[in-house]
Amino acid sequence: MSESQATWDLAPAPESIGHVHWEKSYGLFINGQFQPSSGDQTFGSINPATEERIAEITEATDADVDQAVKAARNAYEKVWSKMAARERGKYIFRIARLLQEKAREFAVIESLDGGKPIRESRDIDIPLAAAHFFYHAGWADKLEYAFPNRKPKSLGVAGQVIPWNFPLLMAAWKIAPALATGNTVVLKPAETTSLTALKLAEIFQQAELPPGVVNIVTGHGSVGAAIVNHNNVNKIAFTGSTRVGKIIQKAIAGSKKRCTLELGGKAANIIFDDATIDQAVEGIINGIYFNQGHVCCAGSRLFVQESVHDEVIHKLKHRMNSLIVGDPLDKNTDIGAINSKDQLQTINQYIELGKQEGADFYQPQCNLPAKGNWCRPTLFTDVAQSNRIVQEEIFGPVLAVQTFRTVDEVINKANNTPYGLSAGVWTDKGSKIFNMTSQLRAGVIWANTYNKFDPASPFGGYKESGFGREGGLHGLAGYLDF
């Protein structure tokens, strides 16, 4: 078996964009209606695979954000907090159902706007987003059972700022628990991926969600800052970089705002010599190349036990050669387009840095489309713990491989990072799994699997990967006072 042996040549299998509708331009979704901004700024949403401008998005002003917060406050005080919890839950069930009905349309738009393979948006992002609404809907009238001997109360207006890597899923992940716990929302999607959040606003209209319960304001970082700094917001929920998370934590110091932060990561994925190697290799691939590596919990630091290092690397390179990089809408595509030109530049800088730091560089020589933002799956072996490509989050398809001999050694190396979002362990020995999973300092541990998500499963980090949990019973607490 040669490492560079490619798999089959597959005929193109593009998902049709017929029967998929989105507007050519979108206003801001405030108080149940799309409306223009008080300013006159707009920006294009770019398809990162073709570099085409596929919609005009409105840049919200501070006045727009203020109006959205007022709408949310008004809806909270007059409607949402007064409504019977069961009825509140029924609205959220409705949203889940409508999203399921339109799943294909959302999947296509998600891939067009963000560059992720249709296989992932179709099988993961959209179904999980719907599942988040369905799961949380049922909590609305059962919150007393989640917190023994306490009386949960909603907070008020939640300001939510989400990233571009899972645009609709992050919106659902934020909005569903906020609504179920009785709060109203002002949400800002990332500037490169606003479309599915705006399509979700159409679903809110169709579901007859009372005006102002969810407001969506689009734009760049300044819009997020306006939400975070707004006096009439009770809670900030942010998913994004650790750098911005720290700015937010500092910005709300001294205020009474509640906060949950889901920040960066540099997860260890650990392969022991008694692992089922073929499955582990699949897990490594899924861990780092899923969603172009634009995943905060990506398994970007691979630790391989020395005795199986050569075998694992050989099989890994072979598997990398069968990955198809290209058209996100093609059902055979494994790695789609890098979300933006900026991000591609960041990734390429890290790849150059890795080479300069002296690591062994490997990429399969697959064909890339002529236009668009592309990055081949990348492997660095022979890296040192102190290398920047080991220490810093790259947020792209770049894997750094280190070896280890003993359990103690790998635990020390794996925990030697300011991050603590997730980790992976591969071994066939149950007692070893539990030793590892209890000693790794991270909020989510995948044993003999990787990158699995579920609305019932709490997600969130230790250390500089943020605080608070989202999803599951534990995720509800971040939206409640007692």
């Binding site: 934590q249 001294g254 300011p418 999973t437 909020g443 019932a456 499963s457 250390k463 599951g472």
Partner: protein, 302 residues
Amino acid sequence: MAKSNGASGEKNRLEVLKTYKIYIGGQFPRTESGRYYTPEVAGRPLGNICWSSRKDVRNAVVAARGAQAGWWTRTAYNRGQILYRIAEILEGRRDQFVTELQLQGLTKAAARKQVSQSVDRIIYYAGWCDKYQQVFSSVNPVSASYFNFSVLEPMGVVFVVASEESPLLGLVSLLAPIIAGGNTCIVLASESKPLSSITFGEVLATSDVPGGVVNILTGLRSELVEHFSRHLDINAIAIDSPSEPMLLSIQEFAAENVKRIRHYSVDWKNPDSENPYLIQDFCEVKTTWHPIEQISVSGSGY
């Protein structure tokens, strides 16, 4: 200077005064800075109290970090027994605490009540050590063939700014849940009423609490705020009744390594102020996934 116990009524005998020191890593050193301050109650000096420095904070963090893994990997039952032991030893030294609390301005009746409540509070949390996990953990019904569960783990090293006004009960009310949850901590004692905090260190030192699990410093809050808030090896900060400016600066500095900040303004005499949510406040939720093999047609699920 303060009398450390009330048993010096004998004629022609000079009472032996107590030197109040700080408590780091199971030892009672003086502050490395050599500095002291002399708090007074009703015009009477309480003693020459260690004026701890940034270096003392750093030493205490090293001790706390070193003790953390060992403390957490003890069985919950064992942690519960050690907490119970603290209560036993405190009960045995109640007279000394009553005397010191009186020196710090309480009436005898109030001092007695504070000691009793402190003993009972420790016992309350001793009982929680092997129970909170069952109350707060979950098995999560994910929509695929995985066993998925969430458990609590300690945040790690917690810095505690203890109650200024309630030098024993306030301290115990935060300390007990924090260590019950497997954390280790550094306590900055009441600045104006430090005697009972230091003496409480002596209780800990004779209660099978491993060195470094609890470290107690005395000194000036205004000086140390920046140092403990910015320290990169502290995971969380617990503050009792902070002033607004103090809370603001702690929260700003704490962003440097995304510390968790918890602050409480409660009357610790109130029975409602003890509950297992205080343990949870200093825990992380860890979620673990593992595949469930599906071979037989019946499958399996949670």
